[in-house]
Point group: C2
DNA sequence: CTGCATCCGCTTCGATACTG
DNA sequence: CAGTATCGAAGCGGATGCAG
């Protein structure tokens, strides 16, 4: 990318990650290390040469690291370097800012449930749930399930499923997103037949309270953090 | 900009502010409302048609608002709308991430001291200085002075100067930046003749402590916030 | 199949000129 | 002052090729 040539930290940051696709690559790697093909699957529409270019620049900038397997069965693994991990707070703030825009997303948009993981992490990061009991929620979204869990006062979101969750929700990505953002109530989702929800009444109520806590937090109302 | 077409809050955010120059426009407006010319001055290198395009899209997206004066003396004023103010946390995180990159900035980079204001705000936002006494620091940077002040437990950075600061520092932009980032100690700056510093010894010491507090905070060490 | 490199049509960008 | 118009250059998107 062309550099801005400004003595400004924001401009310098954008010199590195301001390019098209670049932050989305970081998003992909924020969940797990990826092979080239994994990245391409998570970035529908990217030109393969662009992906290769971006990976090179990101490595040069120290944002990602590449782990090359020896010749016989070569599969490069791309992962966030320390400098890349340091981008996650910025990424989270952008996710929070962009979340409302999902309300009027296009029908034809690509959907990956793993994108919701980053969104959930951003929404629930810093939310105090220390008063909440442990809770496991399995979200069965198409073929890529994700898990929400409350453990010792922290709420986690991650890829994968668990055998015996307190609540299990089967739905598509947009529905899961609407539920997590507090736009669609659990009961309403069931009633409209957009989701199948299993779990005890109390567990479902605890999940509803969590969602409510994540929906709008004071720090998010005030721009100055 | 071409849309990503992904059902992902980050992608949606980048659909709006991911374009080249866009976040820098938000940076300019984060300090004060701007006329078109002010914006162009703060965005050296931008093509005027691009600026016009971006302003249109940003207004359409509700990020900025335009206040048009009546025909006789028409001077449009651009300012951040509510949705634009909500971008500041993300902008701050990017600023924090980009700050270390200033260490090896190019000599030919453009410099505006007002860019340091956004940087200082980001660095000191959330820093607890409730135990610090009120303090006013005037930074006389070329022709655009800025002020740091500690008032009722909050540290503020803003454009403009004050008549009787506790500490007054005259230097150029990069030097001020290096001092604020903790890369250049106040005494060293004086010794190397890069800055002229006035103020009592105790006031200077208090400033030094502030800078040290802003330099690295625990929350910034841990990526997950 | 993975991990790119190359080519090509098209869009966007950057620089300059010009107008109300 | 506040933009619009124009045009060459660069970057992007899509298709294809190809080595390990």
């Amino acid at each position: 990318m062309r550099q801005y040539g400004q003595f400004c930290p924001l401009a310098k940051a954008l010199d590195v990650v301001g390019d098209r696709w670049t932050l989305l690559i970081v998003r992909e790697l924020s969940e797990r290390p990826c092979r080239y093909t994994d990245l391409r699957d998570g970035l529908p529409g990217i030109a393969t040469n662009l992906l290769a270019d971006r990976l090179k620049s990101l490595e040069a900038a120290g944002v990602i690291s590449v782990e090359a397997a020896p010749p016989p069965i070569a599969t490069n693994l791309y992962r966030l370097a320390e400098r890349g991990e340091a981008l996650l707070p910025a990424l989270h703030e952008l996710v929070l800012w962009g979340a409302p825009l999902l309300a009027d997303a296009d029908e034809t948009d690509e959907v990956r449930s793993r994108w919701l993981v980053a969104a959930a992490q951003a929404m629930f990061a810093g939310i105090d749930v220390s008063d909440a009991d442990p809770l496991e929620v399995a979200l069965d979204i198409d073929d890529e399930p994700i898990t929400l869990s409350v453990e010792h006062g922290q709420l986690h979101a991650e890829l994968g499923t668990v055998p015996h969750p307190d609540v299990r929700i089967a739905c598509d990505g947009p529905t899961a997103s609407a539920i997590l953002r507090g736009q669609l109530h659990l009961d309403a989702a069931t009633r409209q037949d957009r989701a199948q929800i299993n779990g005890t009444r109390t567990a479902r109520a605890r999940l509803a309270r969590l969602i409510d806590a994540g929906r709008v937090t004071p720090q998010r109302m005030v721009p100055g953090r």
